[in-house]
């Protein structure tokens, strides 16, 4: 596969029921490309966790996925409140999600750790009051 495929999504904020649509669409498209099932699954889970975070914490945001020779790159960008302490946010079990989100089955403090776990490259930049950008790569091999 020499050509680069680009997918772009806008994730609405505060509409929790729609969170996951982008990840599901990406997953279908990656499957159709004939990529290995475990690669597709890892990319889909990582993106899904990110998409949930965009909906829960950031009032929405945008996702850009590029699939090229050997790698799936996913960039999630938002103009949300930003993360004050990234190291703390990356630790398993730490969450600032309200009880309402927990009652929906999320907010256990596993989102960012999961994204890191399922991706081969994980990079997060965040500025309080400005927003957060996360870049993930999943190797196709």
């Amino acid at each position: 596969m020499a050509e680069v495929i680009t997918l772009e999504y806008t994730v609405p904020g505060d509409d929790f029921t729609r969170a996951g649509e982008a990840s599901a669409d990406m997953k279908s498209r990656l499957k159709k490309l004939g990529l290995p099932a475990d690669v597709v699954r890892r990319a889909a889970i990582a993106l899904y966790e990110g998409e949930i975070n965009l909906a829960i914490h950031a009032h929405g945001g945008c996702i850009c996925v590029t699939v090229s020779e050997g790698v799936i790159k996913m960039v999630l960008a938002d103009k949300g409140p930003g993360i004050e302490n990234i190291a703390l946010a990356m630790s398993e079990g730490y969450s600032t999600a309200p009880d309402e989100v927990r009652s929906l089955g999320f907010g256990a403090g596993m989102g960012l750790p999961n994204m890191k776990k399922y991706s081969d490259v994980f990079d997060i930049e965040s500025t309080v009051g400005v927003g957060t950008t996360i870049q993930m790569e999943v190797n196709i091999s």
């Binding site: 969170a19 599901a24 699954r41 899904y48 089955g105 999320f106 403090g109 596993m110 989102g111 776990k117």
Partner: protein
């Protein structure tokens, strides 16, 4: 174990059409916390949950699961069922509690399978 056996053991009612009752499943997980399903589960085919929202189907879809059983008599709405149909996931409802449902399936040989530590 076949999906029809799961339905029998849990006295569960199918709520999506065209369920492949003969489909073999080997492992299952039970959780109301989708974050934990995404974090710890690996290669499980059946999700047993008391959580009732569309993210249950999204999570199962991401994990390539083929069957969801809503316990404690939870009744998924049309949006959830439509989503499940689109993703070819069979959905059942059971009046049993989570503990009893998991225990009955385990007793009959279904296992938790591998998980991420």
């Amino acid at each position: 174990m076949k999906i029809k056996e799961i339905a029998e053991i849990l006295q569960a009612t199918p709520v999506t059409p065209n369920v492949d009752f003969e489909r073999e499943v080997h492992t299952a997980c039970g959780s109301d916390m989708m974050s934990d399903v995404l974090a710890y589960v690996k290669n499980q085919s059946v999700l047993i949950t008391g959580l009732n929202n569309p993210q249950v189907v999204r999570t199962a879809d991401m994990m390539d699961m083929v069957c969801i059983v809503f316990v404690r008599g939870k009744k998924p709405d049309e949006q959830i069922l439509t989503l499940a149909q689109e993703r070819h996931i069979a959905v059942f409802t059971s009046e049993l509690t989570m503990f009893t449902a998991c225990g009955k399936l385990y007793e009959q040989g279904l296992r938790g399978g591998e998980s991420h530590g």
